[in-house]
Assembly symmetry: C2
Amino acid sequence: MTAHPPPNPSSPRRRARRGSGEQLHGKILDAAKQLLAETGRAEAMSIRAVADVVGVTSPSIYLHFADKDSLVQAVVADLFGELGERLGGGTPGEPPLDKLCRQGTAYIMFALESPEHYRLATMSASTEIGKVDLVLQTTAFAHFHQTITECMDAGIFAKGDPTPVALDLWAAAHGIASLLIAKPYLPWGDVTEAADRVMRATAMGLSISEYLGADATPADFVGWRASLPPR
Amino acid sequence: MTAHPPPNPSSPRRRARRGSGEQLHGKILDAAKQLLAETGRAEAMSIRAVADVVGVTSPSIYLHFADKDSLVQAVVADLFGELGERLGGGTPGEPPLDKLCRQGTAYIMFALESPEHYRLATMSASTEIGKVDLVLQTTAFAHFHQTITECMDAGIFAKGDPTPVALDLWAAAHGIASLLIAKPYLPWGDVTEAADRVMRATAMGLSISEYLGADATPADFVGWRASLPPR
DNA sequence: GGCGCTAACTTATCGTGGTTAACATATCGA
DNA sequence: TCGATATGTTAACCACGATAAGTTAGCGCC
């Protein structure tokens, strides 16, 4: 069995119509996502496996994607689209910091729902210069951006460019999501609570950090904290 | 050139003495670390490449490591040992929260110095039950643990089990380290400042979060913050 | 109807990588 | 000296990513 088996001789897959080569493109993407979701292992998404699922030979993949990395990136882009949609909703009039924490937790939950997709999305090399601000242009990031701006208007953060704040909060969300996925056996306790706790702590910390001034040392904070009335 | 070339026929590597098969074990580990550090790419550390560097044929690796994953895990364990040593030092009498932030930043810097090692350490699957608390038993984690206990004694955190606090802080450190490695092109600004900022914010946030009470909502925080005198 | 163009595939093949089975040999205790 | 065995090597298998070259089906056109 050294040769790869043909797709399925009994049902010879009908070749796509002349202009509709894009059909296969979509099917390949779906198959790749499905393989990742079902097996849960990134290495299971081989070009050959994807081709088998679609019912096509492996070189056909290369008619629609330049190489494996392109396929992975396409899957990831698709995923981030879904994430953006999910972060969009929310009750109007929701306090901005509540909204920010909710979005952060939603981000983490999304990552936990499709851990292999998330791993690929955040842990691939992809140091390509061309895609410099690919992340920053996702709708998910735009939603974060928007909510942070609302927080600034509410006086929770100092007014200015929301991007640094967004990056710091994203780092916190990514950190807990990533570790929950990679080290699930650690004593995290309830996952939702852990996610919520870290997001709240980071958001509050950034706010207090700005309140105390960017040049405040940890010792300054300790002194200030000691001066707070007990609750 | 389909066959693999022999190591080096001109200098026939002396076989190790009867009891010293462990020599090769160490050399393999060094070679694997070296390949990762030099090339900076995880895929460059193939079994065959490691064997070539050592001057041995690839199947010999399997006399000392069960499979590639075992070799990777061994490299990672070695790395965490180095990390633990580095986190150990520090001036006596250093305020505990300063120490905590310094250790967090040192952790992040360590990750940035050997990004591929770090990627392997934190992003591999390794869901093996046997190694349940492998991370928690590293000296690096022990140092975090110790410093957090000192913070608790200083009233910065509520007294109790340091492990949850350590995990949350570790998540923050890992998040920023991981993103700095995976997405270096994002506008992080100065890397050291970013690391320090996130660590400080998270530590302060956890402290304030405990001060306000675990059940405090983000809205509670906003109300409390608005009551603070302007600085 | 038939003819050619070409999009949409397949077949065959290459090189690399992880892993294993079978074989070889140097070392060491008895 | 001699056999047991630790310490390797040779040869091979199979899966994978990728490419080159061949094939076929749909479509416009006369």
